[in-house]
Every structure is written in structure tokens, then in C-alpha cells.
Amino acid sequence: MGTFILIVPAVIFMLLFFIYPFLYGLVLSFQPAQGDWLANYAKFFADSHLWRTLNTTFNLALPVTIINVALALPIAFRMRHKSRYQRWVTTILVVPITLGTVLIAEGMLAYLGPKGWLSQALQFVHLYDGPIRLTHNYWGVLLSLVISGFPFAFLLILSYITGIDPVLERAAATLGASPWNRFRHIYLPLLAPGLAITFCLAFVQAFSVFPSAVLVGAPAGSTRVISLAAYEAAFEQYDYPMASAVAMIMGFAQLAVVVAVLALRRGFYRGPVAGGKG
């Protein structure tokens, strides 16, 4: 009884702010403005203007997630020992998390736009005289998602790595394991479950991209992501049931990837990451 009371606030919060809106949206998506109950979903998968957003979003979110995790892993690995510069580097790497996508987009436009500093600098030294297109296209959004998503992946992986008892690596060294083998046989297997979780969270974050797709992307073309389709349905066509259906499809696409990755994770060792009885 006592423990039950303790979870009541959390349950109420979940019901009010997650379960109810979710179920409301789900039901709404089956009540289209016209046609039978599946009409919204049928429309989504029939209209190339709509279903292509799914591809577009995957094409952005998957590479971004892979880049973020692949970039964060070696850097976090280098930062695993407490040192004087560990705190500084961590702070610098994490700053973008506090900026928000809009600020990042503004910065990118100033630095990387056709008349930005990078372009001017390159032209000034005659390194590359052609136009540099790093904004208002696919690359702009990709870059923006890497900038905002990397700190997140880095922090998560860093916490997983520092959780692994460093004495294991020392033991491996005394047994003749080179630095690469220590990473490959000790750190990587113990990190795998954490990497899977990081991948899932980073993917979900990237998949729901919205502001940067508009600000530094090409929202009518190569970066017309699925959240834009939902936004248009809701606030340009005022078709809430359709918007709900798009949101549901988006949710299930994310869920599918998360489930797939977590299923893979079942194959990894998931026990304690310390070497002894502690």
C-alpha cells in the first residue's frame, strides 16, 4: 500500500501527459474527415508527397545517428581517465547541447552559408573558388543534427565507459593485450548494451527533426521530413485526424528501429561491468 501511494504521482503524470494524448491521437487518426476509418493511413501511403517523407527522414536520421555514435565513442574512450583536461574537453564538447537548434541554425547560416565566413575565407586563400553549399540542403540539416546530437551521444557513452572498472583494462594489459585488443575484447563487449541504448535515443532524437529541417534545410525538397508533413496537415490544412495519423506513423517507425536495436542487444552480455566482488 505504501509503495503504491509513492507511484501515484508518476502514474497520474504519465496518464495525463503521455497515455491520454497518445490514445487521443490514435483514436483521432482513425476518424478521417472523409472515407473509412483507415482512410488517413491509406492516403499517406498512396501519396508519394507524403510517404516519401518517411524515406527522407530515415535518410537523415540513420546516418546522423551512426555518425554521432561513431564519433562519440572514440572521443569518449580517450576521455575515460580522470585528467586535468578531461573536464575542459567535456565542457567544450557539451556546450552545443545548451544552444538549441535555432541558435545552431543561425550560427551555421553565418559561418557556412554561400556568403558565410567559411566560403569567404576559402575564396580569399583561393583554396576552393566554387560555391559552397552547406546550408539549405540535406548537408545543412545533417550537420545541424550532428552538432546538436553529438554532445548527447558523447555524454551517454562517456558515462557508460567510466562505469567500466579500469582495473579490467590493466588486467588485460598484464595478460599481453595491446591497446587495440583491450578495446576490442574488454571495452567493446562491455559497452555494447550501452551503445545500443545510445543509438536508440540518438536515433529517436534525430528522427523527430523539425526546426533545422526548415531553417538550414530545403523543406520543400530534400529535407521534407515527416514532422513537416504532420505540421502541414495540422496547421496548414487544419486536418487534425490526418496529422495524428502522420504522427502515429512517425511513432511506429521510431519504435520499429528501437525494437530492432534492443532485440540485437539481447545477444550481448548485460551483467555487471566490474571485475570482482566489489
Binding site: D165, A171, K277
Partner: protein, 356 residues
């Protein structure tokens, strides 16, 4: 890999403390360990013994000095190139590998052929009596079993030198005694050198051929266990080796090493371990006091506290002049009883008083 001796020449290691000052963790350790010898590094925590072990293992760089395996200088090699087996205090077993893979890890890193590696792992597990547990994960083993896996993993690579960092400190008292015998047996069977770090004097006395006593990063004494036990080189070593009675006294007579010290009616004949001048410190073990009548070093007192230990009791005796002595006495000793105890002069070790 066979060798005749491991030589440490002036091995030192210092750290920078948070304030940036240099802290000496290990100062000028020089010792030669021949093949087959069991050496214990003994000292209180923070005395530099683990630092010394890590320096030998290659887990810490030396600040100065060198380490040699016969003619080969090894302190310049990284840990993975030294090929020493090491047993860590918390075992450091790889939690995601089975017992077999843990033990076989070193062989795998050396590229030993699978069939041969398999045979050697099986033999190592036999040696530590863990046959039948090959496919368990470390988390499924008891502390004693984990300890055995760690031992098997360190010796399966047939290292010239086995390093052990307080390997028994996480075990209960009974298991500790069993593993002690086990470690001694394995050391004899392999006939290689072992360097064993411990803060437990009993462990060092029972296991080692030779003991290095350390304090504040400095070697205090290197000697065989019997000598360390009976003839501590200085007061620090004596204190650490169980000389619980440390009495500050005045030197009354001195001729060679035979001295008489005393104060306030207490008069003790003893042996000076270092030249003494006017003031000295006498160190006596509780177990060296006797109740039987003797003609020298008689002390009258009253029993103030009794700690019953089964075979005998550890008692606090307050002398007539008010000095408190710790002594082992027959279990019949009773609180408040007046006693006359004595101690043989050769068991009263006299050291110069600390210059304070």
C-alpha cells in the same frame, strides 16, 4: 621465458598531489629476486608497496631507477610486453567471459594454438581445483572461486614472475588460510618468482622466503621472516610486527648492545638494535612476557583489563609506577589480580628515542 633473477635498481615513483607538490610514493627500492623465491612486500596501507608492484607490472611508469630481468631492461617495456602474471586485489576478472575464456585470455593474446591453449587452460584449472566450473561467468562464482580463477589466469601464461596485490584481503578468515596454503603450493610447483603485496604480517611471515618491510615509500628492512619477526631493524618495523609495548625510557647503562633502561622504578635489561644515547624506546611483544618467576626484568602490576582469546588472554597490566603494559597470559588471568611478570632481556629491543 626463463630467467635467473629480477633486479630492481633504485626504483622510485613520485606523484603530484592536488596542490601540485611532489609526493614520494616509492623511494629507491633496490632488491634482487632470484628465480623460485617468494618475496613479500609488507607495510601499512599507503606505504608504497602497491606502487612498487605496479611499477614492476608496468602499470605505472618509474620516476627514476630501472628494472632488469637478467640482462634485459624491462622498465621501458609496456605492461603487455613484460609477460608477468598479475593477481589483482579485486580479482579483475572479465565479467563477460566464462571462466575458460578468462583463463585463456592471455594465451589468446599470445596467439597460442586453440588445442594447446585448451589443454593449458584445463591444466591451470586443475591446479587451482576449479574443474567443472569452466563455463560459468565470474558473477556466478563465490569469492574464493573468483580468486582461484584470477590465480589460474595469471599462471597459465607461464610467467617468469607472478605479482600478487593483496589477493586474499577480500576473503573470509577460513578461506584466507586455505588460499594461503594453496598459493604457497602453486608457487612451489611452478618454481617461479612471486612478489606478493600484503599488509598482513601473518600472511607475509607464513608465505614468504623473504620480506621487504616498507613505510612511507621507504624500505625499512629486507630479511627472512624469522629475522623480521625477532629482530626488527627499527621501531617502525617493530611496531608493525606486533611489538605493541613501546616504552619511552632513560638509558641507565650501556655496554655494546647490552643496555639497561628504566624510569620511575621500572628497570629493564635489553638489547640495543641501534646505538642509543640518553633516551631510548623499548619494544616488547605481548607474548614475550612470562608469569613464571625469573631473576631479571621483574615487573609488578595489577590486571586492568582482560581480553579472552581462548588458549590465552590478552591482558592490560598497570605497573606500580603507572605504566600500562600489554601481555599475553594464561586464560586464568583475572581482572584486578596482582601479578608479577617478567621478560627475557633478549626480547626487550631497545631503539633510540625518536628525535622530537
Amino acid at each position: 621465458m626463463s630467467f635467473n633473477e629480477l633486479q630492481l635498481k633504485g626504483v622510485s615513483r613520485h606523484f603530484a598531489n592536488p596542490a601540485g607538490a611532489r609526493v614520494l610514493a616509492l623511494s629507491e627500492l633496490t632488491v634482487t629476486v632470484p628465480r623460485g623465491e617468494f618475496v613479500a612486500l609488507l607495510g601499512p596501507s599507503g606505504c608504497g608497496k602497491t606502487t612498487a608492484l605496479n611499477c614492476i607490472a608496468g602499470l605505472l611508469p618509474l620516476s627514476s631507477g630501472s628494472i632488469w630481468l637478467d640482462e634485459l631492461r624491462i622498465d621501458v617495456l609496456p605492461s603487455e610486453k613484460r609477460g608477468f602474471g598479475m593477481v589483482f586485489q579485486n580479482y579483475a576478472l572479465f565479467p563477460h567471459m566464462t571462466v575458460r575464456r578468462n583463463v585463456g585470455f592471455g594465451l589468446r593474446m599470445r596467439g597460442v594454438a586453440t588445442a594447446q591453449a585448451e589443454r593449458r587452460v584445463t591444466r591451470a584449472l586443475e591446479l587451482v581445483q576449479l574443474t567443472g566450473h569452466e563455463d560459468k561467468l565470474p558473477g556466478q562464482l563465490s569469492g574464493g572461486q573468483q580468486q582461484r580463477v584470477a590465480l589460474a589466469r595469471a599462471i597459465v601464461i607461464e610467467p617468469p614472475l607472478v605479482l600478487m596485490d593483496e589477493p586474499l584481503s577480500n576473503l573470509d578468515a577460513k578461506l584466507r588460510l586455505e588460499m594461503r596454503a594453496e598459493i604457497r603450493r602453486i608457487h612451489r610447483e611452478l618454481g617461479r618468482a612471486t612478489i606478493y603485496v600484503t599488509h598482513d604480517q601473518d600472511e607475509a611471515l607464513s608465505l614468504a622466503d623473504r620480506i621487504i618491510v616498507m613505510q612511507d615509500g621507504v624500505v625499512q628492512q629486507i630479511a627472512v621472516p624469522a629475522e623480521i619477526y625477532a629482530q626488527p631493524a627499527n621501531l617502525d618495523v617493530a611496531r608493525f610486527m606486533g611489538y605493541r609495548n613501546v616504552l619511552e625510557l632513560d638509558v641507565m647503562q650501556a655496554s655494546g648492545s647490552a643496555v639497561v633502561v628504566g624510569r620511575d622504578g621500572l628497570r629493564l635489561e635489553g638489547v640495543a638494535k641501534q646505538p642509543v644515547r640518553r633516551r631510548a624506546v623499548a619494544a616488547i611483544r605481548p607474548e614475550d612476557f612470562m608469569v613464571e618467576e625469573s631473576t631479571v626484568n621483574l615487573i609488578d602490576g595489577r590486571i586492568e583489563a582482560v581480553e579472552y582469546c581462548g588458549r590465552d588472554s590478552l591482558v592490560d597490566v598497570r605497573t606500580a609506577s603507572g605504566v600500562l603494559l600489554h601481555a599475553r597470559m594464561p586464560a586464568s588471568a583475572a581482572l584486578g589480580e596482582a601479578v608479577r611478570i617478567s621478560v627475557p632481556p633478549e626480547r626487550v629491543l631497545v631503539y633510540p628515542a625518536a628525535a622530537a
